[in-house]
């Protein structure tokens, strides 16, 4: 029960964030906290502009996604070559904290370094990250509750799953000597469970860490 009340306060602060993000207000004594602008504004960064703080925030989130995408954890013993990387969590958190646009930027730029080692793989990574984080943040934007976050992530997971499977069908034959049919045969035993597991970890961890991170964002502002 105490959790739900805690959730409520977090909900409120987020709602004010959304308001401030979309329609930046002039300096007032009790202006709502904006994660991306902050109080005591000099007004220089108002009116639809990207404040330097927003740029800095996005940059650090992208850096975090890049760093996370280099981590490789084996999570699926049946297919040891499929590795889990936590960058999707960063995309989800960026989407929840700053909106779908931020989710898209972090998803795309976060995978850009991989273009130079595995161009098709990087493209696939970008698409999957976009598919999970953008829908999740769109839903959460409308419904800023714990349930909204869950619904958003569930929707994101479904879309990302479809995108992941389709892109696997197209890209895997480039990397291994397999026909599309052979890849399709791997869907049920390997690709589906791996991706489900991967997205489930994304969602659960995001869920676990989002509350403390909003607290942080509120205090940083």
């Amino acid at each position: 029960m105490s959790q739900s009340s805690a959730m409520q306060s977090h909900t409120d602060s987020d709602r004010s964030t959304a308001a401030a993000t979309e329609t930046p207000t002039a300096h007032t004594a009790n202006r709502p906290t904006d994660h991306a602008v902050g109080a005591h504004s000099t007004g220089v960064a108002d009116h639809g502009r990207w404040s330097t703080r927003r740029i800095a925030m996005y940059a650090l989130f992208v850096a975090l996604a890049m760093a996370a995408s280099l981590i490789e954890l084996p999570i699926f013993p049946a297919a040891p070559w499929l590795k889990y990387d936590p960058s999707g969590i960063v995309c989800l958190v960026a989407g929840f904290a700053f909106g779908p646009y931020a989710a898209a930027i972090v998803s795309i730029l976060g995978f850009l370094p991989h273009v130079f080692t595995s161009p098709w793989g990087a493209l696939m990574g970008m698409l999957v990250a976009l598919a999970i984080s953008v829908p999740a943040s769109l839903v959460y934007r409308r419904k800023r509750t714990r349930r909204g976050a869950m619904t958003g992530m569930a929707l994101g997971m479904v879309i990302a799953l479809v995108v992941a499977l389709i892109s696997n069908l197209l890209v895997t034959p480039l990397y291994a000597h397999m026909t599309v049919a052979q890849v399709a045969a791997m869907i049920v035993p390997i690709l589906l469970p791996f991706n489900l597991l991967k997205f489930a970890i994304h969602a659960v961890v995001t869920f676990l860490i989002y509350k403390p991170i909003t607290t942080l964002l509120d205090h940083a502002a």
Binding site: A56, A63, Q182, L216
Partner: protein, 849 residues
């Protein structure tokens, strides 16, 4: 000399962080005239930084009026005037505490050019300004160097140069030397003296008395109001506020004092009783002190740890040492010289051993080895009877502790990393503290008991239900320390625990350390502060540069201070020290071969898409002729890039191994062709081998192209290319210039975050949190315990970086000039044609019989 109007004029300025519940600045009046050099002093959390940001025009007050450089930026009636702020800011420079967070890119001259670009200074002018600015700070020779890899002192001078290039009339510096060692401090101060001589108005926030020497006025901020003080009393105040040697970090240390006030009624009594305890203990301590000295003489590995009686053969005192290290060596992967070399030392139960030594001597590495977080190359390490590392019977490699032994070590050794508050993650203070005990598998009752005990010990029981992120910096540090002590370690390793704390907070910390000793807990204290070491330690061990341990038993109280005593982030500085040498290397090789090569000089807007096209097309190669075309191109590119074979190999070997495996895996899927052999029931055919070879060649082409691209292209150039390629999207309302800047800043901060992540992972695994073992719930919790602090760190950097961008006058949508002018030249056209030919060849041979 004070002709003309005031540079800054503040009237009745109020500022509050909590909507008026507490006023950080309460009615400040201040007038700064041209040519003045003002030093602003005051305790941690007194609001000096806030005031300096108001003067720099980076933040607005709650009320009052502010005039900056003739602009009424904030009026008593009409609040902030964005346009006036914008105008004033263009002539105000600001330099902040953390050197690293002010750097925006990875080439020095580009970094200095960033400000002038934002001011739309003409191209040739930017060149002159870069030259002057770099000359003024003494970095002329390093134009092409990477500032993110420089030492803290060089980075801070880079930041000042970045400001000077904007030709500010007023320069505001917020504790610019807090993170620097003595040498670097002196360099920065002499730059300031120079600027003062040339008439720049300076506002300098500082803790250090010696830095106020050339000030025209010293102002002290206390109890939210400003008073002018004369030099002498300032000296005393500044000295007591924060003594030299420990890096002040106002952000982390801010309101420790305040939290004492908050608790005062209930806690002061308790605190006094601890103090009394401590006093009693220190008597005991002194009598103990004699004994380790004696044993240490027996054990003492003299110069270079050469051949002295080995500890095991020496007559032991009453009990065996808790930690024994013999002939320990450690070399970082890829480093040429060892970080630790033949180090020997012992720590007895209940003993406080201070570890001192210059940056790069391997102090933090020693800590990681004792925590079973790093594997040494050679030597014997025993912790509480657990063999962490011991030599094998044959050969040079060592036998390392297994997983069970490592987790025993984690339970025995508590590791309080630098700025331990950076590892906080849980929703409540109590939960965070309980993390370690819970990982030890204790039952709920025991976990609660331990958590409560340690909170009582540190007087933070009243914070149990609060979010750790809602606390002041000082409180956060206490919570983090509690989280380590709750594991009830027999040895506590503290890495610069007092860094950034003011005098009051430091006293409490020292009382705690003595209390631990009274409880029979050994403490290994890594410090740069020789006073602290002398005051607390039974023994001081000095590790000289190069890491051969010298157990300098006699030096307790001998008063010799460490030559290059340094502040704050020694881990970071150690890394910086290593980088320094790397930078030197590149200078010796300068100008860089690859950068000057044909490929290196290509326009990035041509190079990036061309390389990507070839890389993507490589996947379409299915026959030998296509392979030949691709191979010709790759070899041509390799030659034209003048990348050495060694460098190429180093950058691709990891991927190559992976690709060989992936390629060979195809052998098992191909059934066509003549069977050459069978492995189990799987036939190996000649077709299978041919296909494997094809795939390996394809992957190799891709990775070689990628490696060449990265080796010949600076992050700045990649950013330019991304900006140019994305620019058509501007029509659709995409902020392409900002996206490109975000990308470039991300590239610049990625290594920093990776380093910090490793530090946090170390600290959490020292508390028994492992993402590799245990139940799924436990692993997820362990992951959260790493991810949350990593995010917290990223947000801290973002805050600093946002200010730094403001100080450089970056604004969305402004007209910027470019120092680096891109031009398509004939070589770019030739290159484009060659790439087009390659692609055509690959496509053509796909259809030709």
């Amino acid at each position: 000399m004070t002709n003309g109007e005031a540079v800054a004029e503040l009237r009745n300025v109020h500022f509050s962080y909590d909507g008026g519940a507490h006023w950080t600045l309460n009615g400040i009046d201040l007038t700064i005239m041209p040519g003045e050099r003002i030093c602003l002093i005051g305790a941690n959390g007194s609001g000096k930084s806030t005031l300096s940001r108001l003067i720099a025009g980076l933040t607005a007050p709650d009320s009052g009026s502010i005039r900056l450089l003739g602009q009424q930026v904030f009026g008593a009636d009409n609040g902030a005037d964005a346009e006036a702020y914008r105008t004033a800011r263009r002539s105000i420079g600001a330099v902040f505490q953390k050197p690293e967070d002010q750097i925006v890119t990875t080439v020095l001259e580009d970094d200095v050019a960033f400000g002038p670009e934002n001011l739309a200074v003409a191209h040739d002018d930017i060149g002159t300004r870069i030259a002057h600015a770099l000359h003024a700070v003494g970095l002329d020779g390093l134009r092409q160097a990477d500032p993110t890899r420089m030492s803290g002192g060089q980075q801070q001078r880079t930041a000042i140069a970045g400001m000077l290039a904007m030709q500010p009339r007023l320069l505001v510096l917020d504790e610019p030397t807090a993170m620097l060692d003595e040498m670097a401090r002196a360099d920065v101060m002499s730059v300031l003296d120079d600027l003062q001589r040339h008439g720049t108005t300076i506002v300098h926030v500082t803790h250090r008395p010696e830095e106020t020497a050339h000030a025209t006025r010293i102002l002290k901020l206390e109890n939210s109001v400003l008073t002018q003080v004369d030099g002498m009393s300032a000296r005393v105040e500044a000295g007591s506020g924060d003594d030299a040697g420990s890096g002040a970090d106002a952000a982390t240390a801010d309101v420790w004092t305040e939290d004492v006030e908050a608790e005062s009624a209930t806690t002061d009594v308790a605190a006094e009783s601890v103090a009394a305890d401590v006093a009693a203990e220190s008597v005991v301590a002194e009598s103990v002190a004699a004994e380790p000295a004696a044993s240490a003489t027996a054990i003492g590995s003299s110069d270079d740890g050469a051949s002295v009686p080995s500890p095991s053969s020496a007559p032991l005192p009453s009990s065996a040492p808790l930690v024994s290290v013999e002939h320990l060596s450690y070399t970082y992967p890829g480093a040429s010289s060892p970080a630790l070399n033949d180090l020997s030392l012992t720590i007895d139960p209940g003993e406080i051993v201070a570890i001192m030594g210059p940056n790069g001597a391997g102090k933090s590495t020693l800590a990681r080895i004792l925590c079973a977080l790093a594997v040494p190359d050679a030597g014997t390490v025993t912790v509480d009877g657990i063999p962490v590392a011991r030599p094998r019977n044959h050969g040079t490699r060592i036998r390392y502790a297994n997983r069970r032994q490592r987790s025993l070590v984690h339970a025995t050794v508590g590791y309080i990393m630098q700025h331990p508050e950076r590892q906080l993650f849980a929703q409540t203070v109590a939960e965070d503290i309980a993390y370690g005990p819970r990982n030890q598998g204790l039952d709920d009752h025991e976990v609660t008991q331990r958590t409560e005990d340690v909170m009582r010990l540190l007087h933070i029981s009243h914070l149990a239900g609060r979010s750790p992120f809602a606390l002041s910096g000082g409180q956060q540090r206490l919570v983090a320390i509690a989280g380590v002590l709750a594991c009830q370690p027999k040895l506590v390793i503290m890495d610069e625990p007092a860094a950034g704390l003011d005098a009051n907070a430091r006293h409490r910390l020292h009382a705690l350390i003595r209390h631990l000793r009274g409880q029979g807990v050994a403490v290994m204290l890594i410090t740069h502060d020789s006073d602290e070491a002398r005051m607390l330690a039974d023994r001081i061990v000095r590790i000289p540069a190069g890491g051969a341990g010298v157990d300098s038993v006699g030096s307790v109280g001998s008063g010799d201070s460490v030559g290059s005593a340094d502040s704050g982030d020694s881990k970071k500085s150690e890394a910086a020290a290593q980088r320094d040498t790397r930078i030197d290397d590149t200078h010796r090789r300068a100008p860089d071969r690859t950068a000057a090569s044909l490929i290196g000089r290509l326009d990035p807007r041509v190079k990036l898409p061309a390389f990507l096209l070839v890389m993507m097309c490589a996947f379409a190669i299915t026959n030998v002729r296509q392979l030949a075309v691709g191979a010709c191109t790759v070899i041509g590119v390799l030659i034209a890039s003048r990348i050495g074979a060694g460098r190429l190999w180093r950058s691709i070997r990891v991927f190559l191994v992976l690709f060989v495996f992936m390629g060979l895996a195809n052998v098992f899927f191909v059934r066509a062709g003549t069977t050459l052999a069978t492995i189990g029931s799987i036939p190996i055919t000649d077709d299978g081998l041919a296909i494997s070879a094809l795939y390996i060649c394809r992957f190799t082409m891709v990775i070689v192209m990628g490696a060449v691209f990265l080796a010949t292209t600076t992050p700045t150039a990649i950013t330019d290319a991304v900006d140019a390629l994305f620019s058509p999207l501007r029509r659709f309302g995409v902020h392409t210039q900002e996206v490109a800047l975000v990308f470039s800043l991300a590239l610049r901060f990625m290594p920093t975050l990776a380093t910090e992540t490793r530090a946090i992972m170390d600290a959490q695994s020292a508390r028994g949190g492992s993402i590799e073992t245990g139940t799924p719930t436990r692993r997820l919790r362990a992951m959260a315990a790493i991810i949350v602090p990593v995010f917290a760190g990223a947000l801290r950097h973002a805050d600093d970086l946002g200010l730094a961008l403001d100080a450089r006058c970056y604004e969305e949508g402004i007209h910027r000039t470019h120092w680096r002018v891109l031009r398509i030249e004939s070589r770019d056209i030739v290159f484009m044609m060659a790439i087009a030919l390659t692609l055509a060849g690959i496509i053509a041979f796909a259809f030709l019989p």
